[in-house]
């Protein structure tokens, strides 16, 4: 039985500088997998390697059994992988509706689009009210909800979220996580990158801890919450 996403021993570098070294990771179909680590640990680089925005220098990335290590970035979403990038990157001067429709760029079927729009509204109800507004007029939290909803519009099997709680007003974070849980409950596999480790581990089934480009710890999310290393490094809890 193979996992939906299988990353084996990949390395990623920028101009000679190593961002990832010998990283392996698995995501079972239907699971929520958290990838946590401090600033510069290489979390974003891993997502960028999966979506083809950077090339892995060695190792392989397999999705649903196929080697996708060298697939061009604009084809990745057609295979069923949606990447919600760090910093949201919504199309600011386009309306919320146009942003969502761009999320469904690869599938022009009007019926599919309507169904997915309804699913997106179910996860993030506020978007329905904002539909005709320009994305730039949304709050940071609403933009994050839009970015995630836009990612779901291609009906991906794997949804990758890069720091969905970064820079978001704390009172909006539970809303965002409620949406993520709703999406996962619908059967979408989620790869969740976070620095907000507590929130991520509570939402996840399994988790990986990255440190300076290497996986230093992995296992069930519930076990990792209790791990002294995690508690000390990320949760600010010092064992006594």
């Amino acid at each position: 039985m193979s996992a939906l996403l299988e990353i084996d021993h990949i390395a990623v570098g920028y101009d000679g500088m190593r961002a990832l070294q010998d990283v392996s990771l698995r995501a079972e179909a239907g699971a929520v997998v958290a990838l946590v680590g401090a600033n510069g640990a290489g979390k974003t680089s891993l997502l960028r390697a999966i979506s083809g925005l950077v090339r892995a220098q060695s190792g392989t990335i397999r999705f649903a059994g196929d080697d996708i290590t060298r697939v061009p970035a604009h084809r990745i979403v057609r295979l069923g992988i949606a990447h919600v990038p760090e910093g949201r990157r919504v199309f600011a001067s386009a309306t919320v509706r146009d942003n969502l429709l761009l999320g469904a760029y690869i599938d022009r079927d009007a019926k599919h689009r309507r169904t997915r729009l309804e699913a997106a509204f179910a996860a993030f109800p506020i978007l329905r009210e904002r539909l005709e507004q320009r994305a730039s007029t949304l709050s940071g939290g609403e933009q994050q909800m839009l970015a995630i909803a836009r990612g779901t519009m291609s009906a991906p099997r794997l949804l990758m979220l890069d720091e969905p709680s970064l820079g978001i007003a704390p009172k909006l974070i539970p809303q965002i996580y409620a949406g993520i849980r709703a999406i996962a409950t619908g059967g979408t596999t989620v790869l969740l990158v976070e620095q907000n480790v507590g929130e991520a581990l509570r939402a996840a089934d399994t988790a990986y801890v990255l440190q300076t480009g290497r996986v230093v710890l992995s296992g069930d999310a519930s076990d990792l919450i209790g791990d002294p290393l995690v508690q000390e490094a990320f949760l600010g809890i010092v064992a006594t």
Partner: protein, 288 residues
Amino acid sequence: MEALTTFAQLLASGLLTGLVFALVAVGLTLVYGVMDVVNFAHGEFLMLAMYAALGLALVGIGPLLGLPLVAIALFLFGIVVYRLFVRRLLAGPPEATVFGTFGLLVLLQGIAQAVFSSDFLSAPRPPFQGTIRFAGLAVSQATVVEGIGALLLTAGLYAFVEYTETGRAMRAVAEDRIAATLMGIDVQRINGLAFGMGAACVGAAGALLMLSYPVYPTAGASFALTAFVVVALGGFGSIQGALVGALLVGMLEVFGGYYLSPELKMVPVFLAYLVVVLLRPQGLLGRR
């Protein structure tokens, strides 16, 4: 009363002139908006289109039938130029596109010089040479045809960008290439298409302009200069901005030519340009 008629006359002719400027400028602004490339050879594309329209006229194909043919030819030419040339420039440092497209300008002018010499050539017996009189105003048929044609095409381009699936993808690429890629948009394909459409705009403009202008190797350069002013006035990357800027420039030019002197017609244009650049550097309808 007579002053008023003169004013109305100038206004009409300024607006009609401006509409043709708009068609040239939207091509420039579309390419800039989508891929941040200022195509310095835009005027030379126009010049090629005028020679092409002239060639068609010589074999008996008039400007209106010739227009779609020249537009399609320039569209394909634009795509080839993008694939072979601009695409590589984009992979280099930002200045590469400036020097690269400027080099293309020099190259195309040189080729035209060698092939056609510097003679001024005009279409034989162009149609629409009459005058339209309306409410005391008199405008040449050719200017009216040019103006209306340019307006329809500019509006069509705007509608394409605003309301079609591919237009939406173009706006996405314009705003954020990486995010657009993550949506499954092939940025190279969209860039090529936008570059081709920018060239098609001057393709159509070239066919229209053959109604009233001669063609020679540097014929495109003066229109391109105006187009740069128009785009800077209206706001880089904005199609509506190009239309507003073009109408303004058309009127200033016509008024300047009449009330100052024909040699000084560009003075009010560049004054307006200076004022806008100083007070609103992003242009009248530009963002940021």
